[in-house]
Symmetry: C2
Subunit: 362 residues, 2 copies
C-alpha cells in the first residue's frame, strides 16, 4: 500500500492509497489514533447497505466500538441543523468514551463530519475514508470542512485536518459513469496546473481510467493526492496564494454551477467548462499556444465532460461570478495557464475578455 | 493606556487596558484591522441602551460602517440556533463588504461572537470589547470560543484568537456588587496560582477594588490579563498542561455550579467554593500550611464570596463532578496549591479526600 504524507508539523498525517486499503485500517488506527476506542461513523443509507458489514467487521477487528449515523445522500446533509443533530448525538455517545469521527462517504459527508469534528469540544480527531473519486483526489485532503447556509454554500466551516485518510480505490468500482467523469475534471486540473506527466498519462490512458482498471485508478489517485498534499503542506489555510492554484477553473466553474441551480451541471462538469474558459483567457493573453489549448479541449471532450455551456444565460453566469467573491481587494482573480503543468495568478482580467471567453463556450 | 501582548506568532494581538480605552479604538482599528471597513457588533439590549450611541459614534469616527445585532442577555444566547441566525445575518451583511465582528459585552457575548467569527467562511477577524470584570480578566483573552448544546455547556466551539481586546475599565462602574464579587474569584485565582503580589494587593486593597476606584480596577485588570496572556501564549490550545492551571477551583466549581442548576451559585461564587475545596485538599496533602489556608479563606470571605456550600446535596455535587470530565485517561485531575502563587497538577486524588474536602464546606 502506498502512502503520501501531508506535512503540517504536529498536524501532519498520511493518505493511504490503493486497492483494499481499508484492510490496513486496524493497524493504522493503532498507530495514529492510539487511545481512541470508539468511532462515530457518519455515512449514508446507500453506502451503509453496501459496506456496513465490512465497516463493522473492520472496526470490531481493531477493538473499536462503533456507532453509525446516517445522513441524507446529498448536499442537504451539509446544514447547520444536521451538524447540530450530530453534535448532540456525539455529546451523548462520548460521555464515557474517547471518541473519534469517521467520515465514510463522498465530499458532502467529509465536509460535514470534518466540521463536526472541528467544533465538538473545540476539536476531536477524525479520519476520512473517501468513497468517491472526487473525494479521494480532492475534498478528503487538506482539512477544508464546511456546511452550507441558506445564503450560500460552504459559508460555515473550519480548517481542520484529519488524522488519517484511507483511499481504497476498490470503493470507486461502483461509481456511475457520470461521477467518474465528473471527478476526472479535478484530476485534469491537477495535470494542468502542476503535473504535465499526469496530463499526458490521461491523454494516453483515459480508457483504462474510465474503465476502472485498478492500476490506472491507483495511479491517478496517487498522483493527484500527491499534488494536493504538496499544495496543502505549503499553504494550509490559503494564506500564501499557493492554494489559489487549486481554484483553476473554479471561478467561472462555480458561477456556471450556481447559474444552473446546482442541478444542470454537477461540480466536475461545471469545473470542466470553467477550465475551458480560463484556458481561453490564457490563449487570448498569449500565455499558451493554440496547440496547447486544443489538447486541453480534446482531453476534456474525450473524458465525456461538456465543452459547451448549454441552457444557461450569459448574464446569469456573469452575475453569479460577481457574487462568488474569491477575490477581495481586486476586481477579479483568475488562475491562468502558462503551459500544461504551469499556472499563474492574474488579477483584474479585463471584463471584456472574460465575457468573450464565456461566450465562446455557448 | 497600557497594553499587553498575547504572543502567538502570526496570531499575536494586544490587550489595551485602562479608563477610557474605548477612545483609542479608532486608531487601533486602523492599525490592526486595516482594510476591514464594516463592523458587525454583537451585544445585548441593556448594553446597547447604555452605550449604543458611544459605540456608533466611535465607529463612525473611525470611518467604519456598523450593524448592531442584539442577543438575549443570558446563557440562552450561547446556542447553535442563535449562532446560526447570526451567521445568516452576516452572510447577507458581508456580501459586498469586508466585515469583522465585535463582541461587545460579557463572557456570553464574547464566546458566541467569537465562535461565529471562527466559523464564518472558516474564520473572519473579530475583536473583544469586554464590559464585565470577569470578561476583562478572563474570557476575552485566549480565544476559547463556544456555544452550548442541550447536552452540556461549551460543547461546540473553537480556539480562535481575536485581533484585539479593548478593556475599558470605565464599563465596570455599572456592574452590580454581586458581579464584581463574582469576578474577584477569578482574580484571586490568578493570585493563588501565579502571582503572590496580586494576592497580597487584594488582601490590602480589597475595599478600593470593590469600591470601583479607577486605579485599583486598572491595576487588577492589568495584572490578571498579564497572567492570562502569559499562560495562553505558552499553551494556546491546552495541549501542554500549562493552561490547566487556569482550572484551579474549576473542577469542583463547575460541579457546584451544575448541581445548583446554574442559578443558585453564579460562576464566580462556585469557583470560590471550588478554590476552597482544592485548597483544603492541598492542606490535607500538606502542600500548604494552615496559615496559608486561613489567608485564602479570609480573602474569599472578605470579598463577599461564599465560603460554605448551602442548599446542595453532596451526592449531586459528586455526580456532577464525574460528569464534567476534564481528565481523560485518569480518574480525576486537580490543580492544587503549593503556596500562594504556586500550583501543581495532581492526578488521581483519592476519592475519600475529595469527599471530605467538599463535606468540610457544607
Amino acid at each position: 500500500m502506498k502512502s503520501i504524507k501531508v506535512n503540517l508539523g504536529r498536524r501532519s498525517y498520511y493518505i493511504v492509497i490503493g486497492s483494499g486499503a481499508i484492510r490496513c485500517l486496524s493497524g493504522l488506527l493503532r498507530r495514529y489514533l492510539l487511545g481512541y476506542d470508539n468511532a462515530y461513523v457518519v455515512t449514508n443509507a446507500y453506502l451503509y447497505k453496501k459496506y456496513g458489514s465490512l465497516l463493522i467487521n473492520t472496526f470490531k477487528a481493531a477493538g473499536i466500538g462503533i456507532k453509525v449515523r446516517l445522513v441524507p445522500d446529498d448536499e442537504k446533509a451539509k446544514s447547520l441543523a444536521v451538524a447540530g443533530s450530530l453534535l448532540g448525538d456525539i455529546a451523548v455517545f462520548s460521555k464515557s468514551r474517547r471518541v473519534f469521527i469517521v467520515a465514510f462517504g463522498g465530499g458532502v459527508i467529509g465536509d460535514l463530519a470534518g466540521f463536526v469534528a472541528a467544533v465538538f469540544r473545540r476539536g476531536i480527531p477524525y479520519i476520512q475514508i473517501p468513497t468517491t473519486l472526487l473525494a479521494q483526489v480532492d475534498s478528503s485532503i487538506g482539512g477544508k470542512t464546511a456546511v452550507d447556509l441558506r445564503q450560500g454554500k460552504n459559508l460555515v466551516g473550519a480548517f481542520y485536518q484529519p488524522r488519517l485518510v484511507v483511499s481504497d480505490t476498490d470503493f470507486l468500482k461502483s461509481l456511475s459513469l457520470r461521477e467518474r467523469r465528473s471527478a476526472l475534471a479535478e484530476i485534469i486540473k491537477y495535470g494542468l496546473i502542476k503535473d504535465r506527466s499526469l496530463f499526458v498519462y490521461l491523454e494516453r490512458s483515459l480508457r483504462a481510467v474510465l474503465g476502472l482498471k485498478s492500476k490506472a485508478l491507483a495511479f491517478i489517485v496517487r498522483r493527484a493526492s500527491k499534488i494536493k498534499a504538496q499544495i496543502v503542506s505549503a499553504d494550509e489555510r490559503e494564506e500564501k496564494g499557493l492554494r489559489t492554484s487549486l481554484n483553476f477553473g473554479h471561478t467561472i466553474g462555480h458561477a456556471i454551477e450556481a447559474a444552473g441551480g446546482f442541478t444542470r451541471y454537477n461540480h466536475g462538469e461545471a469545473i470542466a467548462l470553467g477550465m475551458l474558459v480560463s484556458s481561453e483567457i490564457s490563449l487570448r493573453l498569449k500565455l499558451i499556444t493554440p496547440l496547447v489549448f486544443a489538447r486541453i479541449e480534446r482531453l476534456i471532450g474525450k473524458a465525456g465532460l461538456p465543452v459547451k455551456i448549454k441552457g444557461l444565460k450569459l448574464n446569469d453566469i456573469i452575475r453569479a461570478h460577481y457574487h462568488d467573491k474569491k477575490f477581495v481587494g481586486a476586481k477579479n482573480r483568475f488562475v491562468l495557464l502558462e503551459g500544461i503543468g504551469r499556472f499563474r495568478v492574474q488579477e483584474n482580467v479585463p471584463e471584456e475578455l472574460i465575457l468573450r471567453a464565456v461566450r465562446q463556450r455557448m
